[in-house]
């Protein structure tokens, strides 16, 4: 029950009546239950991917699935790198293109975002829509012309071609995020650098960039993810199997015309996910910071 220490004036009687309320934060038990439930929901599919990848082909596609693998085998993984399938190439291609794209996009986004943020003219509603618009474009429709464009530039089957494709549509958004982030950097610090006699570029490189690391990371991760996930582009812009990236690579080699090999597919899937999951674990803290200042402030 509630404590009223002053002799309660009539108005306060309601207070006396008020029941004692739960303590903040949410009761531990509730939290634990929720978290536990979602941990299962989150981890089960991943576990299934792992366990399947360790089953021999016959068990993997058995119509009575075995929750714990009866026979453990690394065959599926040996297949991946051992066999003729250029899975290694896929992996390398994906990593290289994704990394390059991320870097390129971040560099340009930062420059653009900086001039947005400090160039005096500010992003109003319409501009941010225009920026967003580049994210909305139906790539499926644009991919045809893009294909011909790169074909004419002889950039099909090249990293450069992919990177151009990837970054072009990522940069506006990246710039938008960086702008939001750089807005958060106190002008005084830049002015201090100006007083110290640095040029705009000098300030950008020596002061703004080091201070925007979380923003850079966030933007980079975004680009990296989108690149890594992209199926449409490589499907169209890459015709050579050895130049192919993971998503189409996987799709073509595992659900090709011949058979659907879930064991191998899951093994490949795991290998494909692992780098990201790890990388993601490393950066998530700055992701949170970056988000706060970037995407959220960006609008």
């Amino acid at each position: 029950m509630s404590v009223t220490l002053t002799p309660a004036p009539p108005t306060e009687t309601t207070v006396e009546a008020a029941p004692p309320r739960r303590k903040w934060p949410i009761g531990r038990s509730v939290v634990i239950v929720i978290v536990a439930l979602f941990l299962v929901w989150t981890l089960w599919p991943i576990y299934w991917m792992v366990s399947t990848s360790l089953k021999p082909a016959k068990e993997a596609t058995n119509l009575n699935p075995t929750i714990w693998p009866h026979t453990l085998t690394g065959a599926n993984y040996r297949e991946l790198f051992g066999s003729s399938l250029p899975f290694g190439n896929y992996l390398v291609n994906s990593i290289v293109t994704a990394l390059i794209s991320a870097v390129v996009a971040v560099v340009i986004s930062t420059l653009a975002g900086y001039s947005f943020s400090r160039g005096g003219y500010k992003l109003n509603g319409t501009t941010s829509i225009v920026v967003l618009a580049t994210q909305m474009l139906p790539l499926v429709v644009l991919i045809g012309p893009l294909y011909l464009l790169l074909l004419k530039a002889h950039l099909l089957n090249t990293y450069l071609g992919l990177v151009i494709g990837y970054t072009s549509f990522a940069i506006p958004f990246g710039a938008w995020m960086m702008k939001g982030f750089i807005d958060g950097i106190p002008r005084e610090i830049e002015e201090a650098a100006r007083v110290d006699g640095y040029s705009r570029l000098g300030i950008l490189v020596r002061v703004v960039v080091p201070m925007s690391v979380p923003g850079l990371v966030t933007t980079a991760v975004f680009v990296f993810m989108n690149t890594w996930n992209n199926l449409l582009y490589p499907l169209t812009l890459v015709t050579s199997n050895t130049k192919q990236t993971l998503p189409p690579g996987l799709q073509q080699s595992f659900s090709g015309t011949f058979k659907t090999d879930y064991g191998g597919l899951m093994a490949a899937s795991l290998i494909t996910s692992l780098p990201l999951i790890i990388a993601f674990f490393l950066v998530q803290r700055s992701m949170v910071r970056g988000m706060t200042a970037g995407a959220l402030a960006g609008t």
């Binding site: 909305m136 449409l232 993601f280 998530q284 992701m287």
Partner: protein, 279 residues
């Protein structure tokens, strides 16, 4: 230094758009070289093309349910994990992992788990007697879209967990403490004090995800190819078929243009909401 980059960018983005818009006014089958201008015919055709409307509906459902579902899930998790201390924080990291799983992998994984016979999902549900006959997740018009959406929510909820966590970090301690002193119950603390701080996060996040889901090709393509029938065909799938298996580029572009306009209107609305309240 930025300029050249931006120029390339303009070319790479601009050229295809212009091209697409122009093409949308042509009868433009890739197969035979001669293409003739047909004005707004493609657009007229679109009006009474049942497939288009179904795809549109599917897109709406797919996007809507996915975003709302993922958002709620992310919100609950963000609030639940907000006060996790020290080593327990690790769990938030774990809860975020699906976001790092490539969409194509998510597709394969859930396709595999959703097999009618031999799929682990049905298998478990049957074993636990939650259902008494296998659910045709991917092979029935009723379920296919749902199945795809479930997979999608699984992979996108973490994104919202992330931005909501970020936003919650922005709630000043004084404010929550003032609320505690004001006797805010758990519920009113969330509803009246914290949620308002998450508004912009929610709006921005929702917007980004709506856009992304409109364009989300790999998941559906790898899981159902839009089938059975058109039951899980979204615009992006339909357009892809039109463009790359029926070679009807003109019509595909027309739909693309409509789609762009649609999204523009949606985000205009969202941004209005955002500024309306924040400023």
């Amino acid at each position: 230094m930025t300029l050249p980059a931006l120029l390339i960018l303009a070319l790479v983005i601009g050229y295809p758009i212009v091209r697409a818009v122009i093409i949308s006014f042509y009868h433009y089958p890739l197969l035979n070289p001669q293409h003739n201008f047909i004005g707004a015919d493609n657009y007229r055709r679109l009006v009474d093309d049942p497939v288009f409307w179904q795809s549109l509906q599917n897109t709406a459902i797919y996007t809507g349910v996915s975003v709302v579902g993922a958002m709620l899930m992310g919100l609950v998790l963000a609030l639940a994990t907000e006060n996790l201390q020290g080593p327990w924080r690790f769990f938030r990291g774990v809860l975020l992992t699906p976001w790092a799983v490539p969409v194509i992998v998510v597709a394969f994984l859930f396709q595999f788990m959703f097999e009618d016979t031999g799929g682990i999902t049905n298998d478990l549900l049957l074993r636990l007697h939650i259902i008494d006959s296998a659910i045709p997740w991917l092979s029935s018009s009723q379920w296919s879209l749902a199945a795809v959406i479930i997979a999608n929510i699984w992979s996108q909820a973490p994104f919202f967990l992330l931005i909501f966590t970020a936003a919650l970090g922005g709630v000043p301690v004084e404010v929550t403490e003032a609320a505690r002193i004001d006797r805010a119950s758990t519920w009113s603390m969330i509803a009246l004090i914290k949620l308002p701080y998450l508004r912009s996060a929610a709006v921005v996040g929702a917007l980004l995800m709506i856009i992304q889901n409109f364009n989300n090709f790999p998941l559906i393509w790898a899981m159902t190819e839009g089938g059975p029938a058109y039951s899980s065909t979204t615009l992006v799938i339909y357009v892809y078929r039109l463009a790359f298996t029926s070679f009807n580029l003109g019509y595909a572009s027309a739909i693309g243009v409509v789609w762009l306009v649609l999204l523009l209107m949606i985000s205009a609305a969202f941004i209005r909401v955002l500024r309306g309240k924040t400023s």
